[in-house]
Subunit: 412 residues, 2 copies
């Protein structure tokens, strides 16, 4: 692993200097190779799927493990999209002349070597490698053992694409998933890995956070709220609250808890309750809400702290904005929270005071992702504040150095 690190560091130097055209050529060539090697990829994946079925992997995991034609197309499209994004490296901003006469600005540069630790989704290999490559970083990827053949087949395509663009093949290294010690070793390789991005379940992320000796860009829970204010437009409120819960259940930006202002609770819940019921969403509510919606289960303290990722919704009636924000602060996970109101002062207070990576007014929490935000693609959604917060695209994989331009200036 030490040697992998050294090779990555050397490749990172070359990648930081690489021309945008070479990086784009590599991305497009990787995409073309993935398309050409489609049969090989499906074969390799079939081997992994068969072994997975035989060893009794659960269906959700098998679903993530599977490579379909559609998923290969998505990888190819993703690489095309990343190639089309502006190169973040070398961007100079805020170049200003100081009273001393020097010009001072900032230049965007790659972070260096990015470690990606992921689980069963083989397509992460191409998605993550593409973003790291475009942002001028070298990458070390370590995926789940169950995806071994699929990952290696994708890695072959990546190497071919890098080679054809005359970029170092070590710019993307895939650690053999059969090496059981690899994860632990990666997490201690702070000399060679500048940042680790874990992609997977909570267990993985907690382990990486606890053990990593370098910074981690991580995503923990998504306990997202929608607060319907008593100055909300009812139609917007109902549309947003319904969409935020039901558009997809298993995503981190799905609403898990609905807060409704007391004054409008009867009117709102009278309409929303039957809609959720029709969609098969189980509601767990506070005492007051159970007086309006008869027959729903009582919510426990634990319910308000739970990311269901399922057709279940916590519900609480609050006196107003302050109680809503207190609830979000106490029970939320600082991921994505939305207010529905027509009152501009309350909207501004919510935007300013709610301490979450995405804070919204009159919009569904489901918008919280890199594509919707225009980042082009995301390596993940950070629930930390340090360095990168919210969806992390190319920019989150870079840093800025200061540049100073003088013409013989000295300090006096």
């Amino acid at each position: 692993m030490q040697e992998t690190g050294q090779r990555a560091r050397a490749a990172a130097r070359a990648m930081a200097r690489a021309e945008c055209a070479a990086k784009n050529t590599a991305l497009l060539n990787i995409a073309a190779t993935l398309r050409e090697q489609r049969a090989k990829l499906l074969d390799a994946n079939a081997t992994d799927m068969k072994a997975g079925q035989e060893s009794g992997l659960d269906p959700a995991l098998l679903d993530r493990l599977e490579l379909t034609d559609k998923r290969i197309d998505d990888m190819v499209d993703g690489l095309h999209q990343v190639a089309a994004l502006a190169d973040p490296v070398g961007e100079i901003t805020e170049l200003r002349t100081r009273p001393s006469g020097i010009q001072v600005g900032r230049m965007r540069v790659p972070l260096g070597v990015i470690g990606i630790i992921f689980e069963s989704r083989p397509n992460v290999t191409a998605d993550a490698a593409g973003l790291c490559l475009k942002s001028g970083n070298a990458t070390i990827l370590r995926g789940g053992t169950e995806a071994h053949h699929s990952i290696q087949a994708i890695a072959d395509c990546i190497r071919a694409g890098l080679k054809s663009a005359i970029l170092p093949e070590d710019a993307v290294q895939v650690v053999a998933t059969t090496d059981r010690e690899a994860v632990g070793e990666m997490l201690h390789l702070s000399e060679y890995i500048d940042v680790i991005v874990p992609r997977g379940g909570k267990g993985l992320i907690e382990r990486v956070s606890a053990e990593a000796r370098m910074p981690v860009i991580k995503h923990l829970d998504g306990i997202c709220h929608v607060y319907i204010d008593d100055r909300a437009d009812f139609d917007k409120a109902i549309r947003i609250a319904y969409n935020a819960k039901t558009q997809r259940y298993g995503t981190c930006n799905t609403m898990e808890c609905l807060l409704v202002a007391e004054n409008v609770a009867a009117a709102i819940l009278g309409r929303l309750g039957p809609m959720y019921q029709a969609a098969g969403v189980e509601i767990r509510g506070c005492e007051k809400s159970r007086e309006i919606l008869s027959g729903i289960r009582a919510a426990t303290e634990q319910d308000y702290r739970t990311e269901y990722l399922a057709p279940i919704l916590s519900l609480r009636i609050v006196s107003g904005l302050d109680e809503a924000m207190d609830h979000i602060d106490r029970y939320g996970s600082h991921h994505t929270d939305s207010i529905v109101t027509e009152d501009i002062s309350r909207a501004h207070r919510f935007l300013k005071e709610v301490d979450s990576s995405s804070v919204m007014v009159n919009a569904s929490t489901r918008f919280a992702d890199g594509y919707e935000y225009g980042l082009g693609a995301e390596i993940g959604i950070s629930t930390d504040k340090f360095h990168a917060r919210g969806p992390v695209g190319l920019e989150g994989l870079t840093s800025q150095k200061f540049i100073v331009i003088g013409s013989g200036h000295i300090r006096t």
Copy 2:
């Protein structure tokens, strides 16, 4: 310490919402109180100085410990300068309308709770507290035991200033320096402290880096280089190389190693050598340089890796730009490096390819600091790439969250 953390977290919430005017009032009132309490501060410091002299502290440490009228004035001026800076909190940037119709932008927010661990300079108390306060953060400060009375006297002024501005007094908490366990406890308090900034010697910084369970904004070595290219303007080259070494010896942005292109080495060193000699700078050079400057000591490998912080200079003659950049990459500390050249392509290559927090063209490395860069003040200079790089001002103590503004938008 747990309780200190909880109080800081509560204060951080209030500080994040505080109006700019209240924060500025607090800063100006702290400054006024420091000025009014000058006699008390000098008395408290005299107690620390006396104890320090009796316990045989070394003169350099005693110098850092001392509070003079000038240093009190500097604290007061520093607070006035921070009050005059624009409030970074709430700044909205990049607000753009997406194809879906939502507006997406970023809002700057405080990091939360900043832990500052420092050594003997009592003035760090006011300087660091001022920056953290203006950026809407709560602060926990822990200074050196030898500065106990001085720090407490300054802390009293800070509390009075916060109180008069009706801001929570817990926004700046000073941990008793007599609590020997405090540093270790702070470094494990990741639930309540969002980032640690160590200010002091290498021993402190290494300990904090190794033990901290939260992100650290840290500054390690400053092994800074000036490379004089063979297309340099000789007068500029000599002026810069002389200034970068001799303007101050003990600062982190002082040049420690001079690299000179072979073609111009004789001409440049023929002029610079006697100037350094006259200034009392000892030169330690490579073989080739010793043929030009007779009588200088041979530089060892270790010399090229040393931050002298003293009138000593390493010198190496290189074949040109590539060898210079290789040397900087191998021996440097990625702090501040400068090229002297009139060749625009070489200047651009140096700016792009040298991986340091400040990269300069035709300017003295001594410019690398927050005041000279227009940040107003700095909490430190980061030699890391993650989050903040180079001089860290108010912006480095903040993060950006995403804000989304719709008018009933849902995801389809």
